[in-house]
Amino acid sequence: MPDHDLSGSSRAITAVYIQGPVTLAPLDPAWIQTPETVITLSRRIHETGAKMVDMGNENRRIKVKVVHNGTDIFFFYQWDESTPNVTVNDYSLFADAFAMEIPLITEVSPIWMGAKDKPVNIIYWRADLARPENIVGGGIGTTQISSDTESQNIRHYQNWANGVWTVIITRPMTTASHNQVSFVRSATYRLALANWKGGSDAERGGNKIISDWLYLFIK
């Protein structure tokens, strides 16, 4: 796995500091003044278990904006999706999904769901779920929704309109739960994004497309 280089502009994201409250609406002034970074997801993981990786020629672009007001941090994601898939009420139907992965206790963890000693903290959004799930992973196939109620403090906004999914995820910067990473100002965190196309593509579980490790700098 090539060593990351800090200069790559498209892999550094800055969480801008905003004074005062930020709402979960896309038209909130905070978003207008925050520059967006476009992240390309190109690492295709195959369906029959996540063991195989091939550098498919598929690239999915995710527009990312991150802001925080000292108490809560807001992640703003947008990506193209021709047909939204929200319901899962039949065997063959899968919902669109998106996830962000951050090493939990170490600075770096294996990008495949972390490892036993280098766990990762994932926020997993799926179009049909009532709210995003806070997940802890210690390696492939071990991801588990964190059971403590403190970590269920994630709120979100989701909307699909004319070909674009808009998802805003927020949670408090610091948390008492040991199943959640706390964000501290002027620190940098590894961040990886993943995306699943539902519907007939039926991407779920190990069948997804992910980014490389990115760098999230909290101003």
Binding site: E150, N153, T174, A176
Partner: protein, 239 residues
């Protein structure tokens, strides 16, 4: 850890009392009317209480507009009908049909799970609060009847108001969570469907209006309760 986050207790106390009273009124409205209770529908006394209570509740005050549009034609329809043909229409809507009544006021017929499963769930709720179906003077109703579920919410809202008076925030959280969970798992799942099937099939203006008010009240109650609970979540999360 201080409980400053709670808005002043006393103000909410009257709100939960009024909510509890509205639940009692709605439960009363759907009960099988005796000729006296029918008179209170006909002479408007029931509605006066209904609209007054609604006007005292900020989160459902807008329903007063229903009174203007619907109230009048309900009133003159009631005026026209005698007690006999009012109850005949009621039975033909709620109790008897070939082979089943068009809008039976029981949750078990609106959920696609088995009715025994539904009844087991609601009786678990009642049992947890030390409540069971009354057997007094020959009453033998089934636990998933609309009036029983409304009466249970009347109980919870009333208990909520008591804890606010005693400033017992531990129990208050319990009653708020109970209301949110019961509303979410039961009335919210079927009362809207019951209201739709009632309104577009049957022409008893009185019950159409009452069902619409109940359905709207339940949806807004869910929002109100979830907003009341939010401070509790924040409370836990302190450093």
């Amino acid at each position: 850890m201080n409980n400053v986050f709670l808005t002043p207790l006393s103000a909410n106390h009257t709100e939960s009392i009024n909510r509890s009273y509205l639940y009692k009124l709605l439960s009363f409205g759907f009960r099988y009317p005796t000729s006296e209770t029918f008179k209170t529908f006909q002479n408007g006394e029931f509605f006066v209480r209904l609209w007054d209570t609604i006007s005292l509740l900020p989160h459902v005050k807008f329903m007063k507009t229903e009174q203007a549009e619907q109230g009048k034609n309900v009133q003159n329809d009631l005026g026209k009908s005698t007690y006999e043909d009012f109850v005949v229409k009621l039975i033909q809507t709620f109790d008897i049909g070939i082979p089943e009544p068009p809008c039976p006021p029981y949750e078990g017929f609106y959920r696609s799970k088995s009715r025994t499963a539904v009844m087991l769930e609601v009786t678990e709720f009642y049992r947890h609060f030390g409540l069971a179906m009354s057997k007094r003077d020959g009453k033998r109703e089934l636990p998933d009847h609309l009036c029983v579920e409304l009466e249970f919410l009347h109980f919870l809202a009333f208990k909520e108001s008591q804890t606010r008076i005693d400033k017992d925030s531990k129990s208050l959280e319990g009653y708020l969570l109970a209301q949110k969970d019961f509303l979410n798992r039961h009335p919210a799942q079927w009362v809207p469907k019951f209201c739709d099937s009632l309104c577009n099939r049957v022409d008893i203006p009185f019950y159409n209006l009452l069902a619409r008010v109940t359905a709207m009240f339940i949806t807004h109650e869910l929002e109100l309760i979830t907003s009341h609970i939010k401070p509790f979540l924040k409370k836990n999360e302190g450093p």
